[in-house]
């Protein structure tokens, strides 16, 4: 059994979006509503779902960039929500984040060296800056001779690699990558995916990889979780999920993804009708019941729990037994 690095239990994040303080009715947006899962050392857990399903919020909650409404995140057996600011800062050395937009996540007024060195400065490793910055830049295949340049002199793919270099500066154990390739062109996307893959093997990194692109997630992940309206609907070993998706939503998601092969005949499932319901007023019972063609009475009353259907394959659906 692999060692558990991150344990998420009953994690919830509700945003109060009441429009005016005069309103009597409170509007609560349940972005993340009761997540339970673990991330094991050295693995990549992919988190997929459509916009608004809570996947980015989950990433932020795990790093405690935002405070959970309820529930716990254990990192290396330590409960992050109990820690004081000082303890949390010490802990945060161990985890980092890679952001989606390589244009917005690098300060245009800072030189590359300053950007990559910033985490080192924060944690007081001033003496090691030169050596360490050079080291991580080499790791992401950017020549250290570019250290004195500004971000605008780099292309999108290079910038994303700089973001990765910055995340690596403190030698973290765990990285949350929030849509790291969504803003990149196809050929550049491949470079960044290769880099993440290599870095994981070389450094034994644990990754939470958040994306909406199913083929990218399939390539990079060991296990995949599918989210819908703040809930995990399926969590499984990658191959089991893609070969034998059990939750109806996962099945629709896979069949809706265009395959770059004109000969590929999918068992053409009728396209999913309707849209994701608003997370402010989600339907009672299973959140997918408004769009699910198989929904039965029980689906409208009870929220299904994530249960193990076969080894390594958890599904939250009343109809999958």
């Amino acid at each position: 059994m692999q060692k558990e690095l991150v344990r998420v239990s009953n994690l919830k994040k509700h945003f109060d979006i009441t429009k005016s303080f005069m309103s009597r009715q409170k509007a609560i947006l349940k972005a993340v509503d009761g997540l339970n899962f673990s991330i094991y050392e050295g693995e990549t857990l992919g988190l997929v779902g459509e916009s608004g399903c809570g996947k980015s919020t989950t990433g932020r909650l795990i790093l405690r960039l935002i405070e959970p409404t309820e529930g716990k995140v254990l990192f290396d057996q330590n409960d992050l929500s109990d820690l004081s600011i000082k303890e949390l800062k010490e802990m945060r050395k161990g985890f980092q984040m890679i952001f989606q937009d390589p244009y917005a996540s690098l300060n245009p007024r800072m030189k590359i060296k300053q950007i990559v060195a910033e985490p080192l400065v924060t944690y007081g490793y001033r003496k090691e800056i030169d050596r360490r910055v050079k080291e991580v830049l080499e790791k992401v295949n950017i020549s250290p001779s570019y250290m004195d340049r500004y971000p605008h002199e780099f292309s999108g793919g290079q910038r994303q690699r700089l973001g990765i270099a910055r995340a690596l500066a403190l030698n973290p154990k765990f990285i949350v990558a929030d849509e790291p390739v969504a803003a990149l062109d196809m050929s550049i996307q491949a470079q960044v995916l290769n880099l993440l893959h290599d870095l994981q093997e070389e450094l034994g990194l644990t990754l939470l990889f958040i994306a909406h692109d199913l083929s990218v997630v399939q390539y990079i992940s060991h296990r995949v979780g599918v989210m819908y309206l703040g809930h995990l609907v399926e969590l499984s070993d990658k191959d089991l999920l893609y070969d034998n998706p059990l939750h109806p939503y996962t099945q629709f998601l896979l069949s809706a993804t265009p395959v770059p092969d004109p000969d590929y005949k999918k068992e053409k499932q009728a396209a999913l009708t309707g849209e994701i319901p608003s997370p402010v007023n989600p339907p009672p019972g299973c959140k997918f019941n408004t769009r699910c063609p198989y929904a039965e009475a029980v689906c409208f009353n009870e929220i299904p729990q994530l249960v193990e259907i076969e080894p390594q394959h958890l599904v939250a659906c009343h109809l999958v037994k």
């Binding site: 916009s51 996307q189 290769n194 629709f252 069949s255 092969d261 004109p262």
Partner: protein, 336 residues
């Protein structure tokens, strides 16, 4: 019998004058669009695919910094020589467009129905009532539930997928013969994307409209298109039917793109195309892909390859010297 050609683009060039020099955003693009054909244009950002669409629609070339040459023949007339007023009569009626971002292509101050009704009111002199009922009709056709009520909604009351369907309804209301869709599904989720792609397919089947779809997603191309042109740095480097493109890609750039896609079941390293697309501010001699090409020869760097057919039926065209039996360049270049 070959279906009729509805739109013919001949040696289209769009150059922008900038302070750093002339940018050849589109540099000699030619293609024929047949009736009922879905024509895909793929390429990475900055390859000129959107500028090509905007030039065809007459949306660029109106000021002295935008230099346009070539021909766009639609019903035997060259669109590039038309005045703004003449283009306004054509655009939205015979030739219409769907842009990428459904959030910004609708006016937030008017109801969706009013905005759609504006099109038949302008082009067909429809009355307010006629326009409105046409708009409601069209919203129903693009699968907006209870269209008569939703037509009085403002854009913010629509979700992203609904807005894009509203924009598509607007572009189809006058039964255009050619629809240009510039990344119509990029801003949408996959399940919504599948609905929009179905809608475009239905449109072609029912109205025999021709569609140019601009995208960077090879999955969308494989699902939807009949013919595909791959663009790189302002030119078409390969043009063929979908099957050939995926089964028998010939240009090194197309091969590279296909190889860089993550494949299911395969966790080996992805192949990448090294380097960056060229800076179009600078003048380049030779093939623009030469500096990233794995099969580059010395003559590639001095002469520009032209798009040439490599099969009998003229269905597969490639701009690469390696595909010519005796490369022209080899004959010309001294010392070879």
């Amino acid at each position: 019998m070959e279906p009729k050609v509805t739109l013919q683009v001949k040696d289209l060039k769009t150059h922008f004058k900038t302070r750093k020099g002339i940018v050849k955003a589109v540099d000699g693009v030619s293609f024929d669009l047949h009736q009922g054909e879905i024509f895909g244009v793929v390429g990475e950002s900055g390859c000129g695919k959107s500028v090509t669409a905007q030039t065809i629609l007459g949306l660029v070339g109106k000021n002295k910094h935008e230099l346009i040459s070539g021909e766009v023949l639609f019903e035997g007339e060259n669109l590039l020589t038309k005045t703004d007023e003449e283009m306004r009569q054509i655009r939205g009626k015979d030739l219409s467009v769907v842009f990428q971002d459904p959030m910004t292509s609708l006016n937030p101050l008017f109801t969706v129905g009013t905005q759609i009704a504006e099109v038949p009111r302008f082009h067909d002199n429809a009355t307010k009532q006629e326009g409105w009922s046409k708009a409601v009709d069209m919203l129903g056709k693009v699968n907006i539930p209870s269209p008569s009520e939703r037509a009085s909604d403002y854009p913010f009351q629509f979700s992203g997928g609904m807005r894009q369907r509203g924009v598509i309804a607007m572009s189809l209301i006058c039964n255009p013969r050619v629809l240009i869709a510039d990344e119509p599904t990029t801003a949408l989720d996959v399940t919504i994307q599948a609905q929009i792609l179905d809608l475009l397919r239905k449109l072609r089947d029912e109205y025999q409209a021709s569609i140019i779809i601009i995208t960077h997603d090879l999955g969308v191309v494989a699902e939807l298109c009949d013919t595909v042109a791959v663009m790189y740095a302002g030119s078409i480097v390969e043009k063929t039917n979908v099957k050939n493109l995926f089964k028998n890609p010939r240009h090194p750039y197309t091969k590279g793109l296909l190889a860089s896609l993550p494949r299911p079941k395969d966790r080996t390293r992805l192949k990448t195309i090294d380097g960056q697309p060229p800076d179009l501010h600078e003048d380049h001699e030779g093939c623009l892909f030469a500096m990233r090409c794995s099969e580059v020869e010395s003559f590639c760097e001095t002469q520009k390859p032209l798009l040439k057919s490599i099969d009998q039926e003229q269905k597969h065209q490639v701009a690469c010297f390696k595909e010519e039996e005796v490369p022209d360049a080899e004959r010309i270049s001294p010392g070879k």
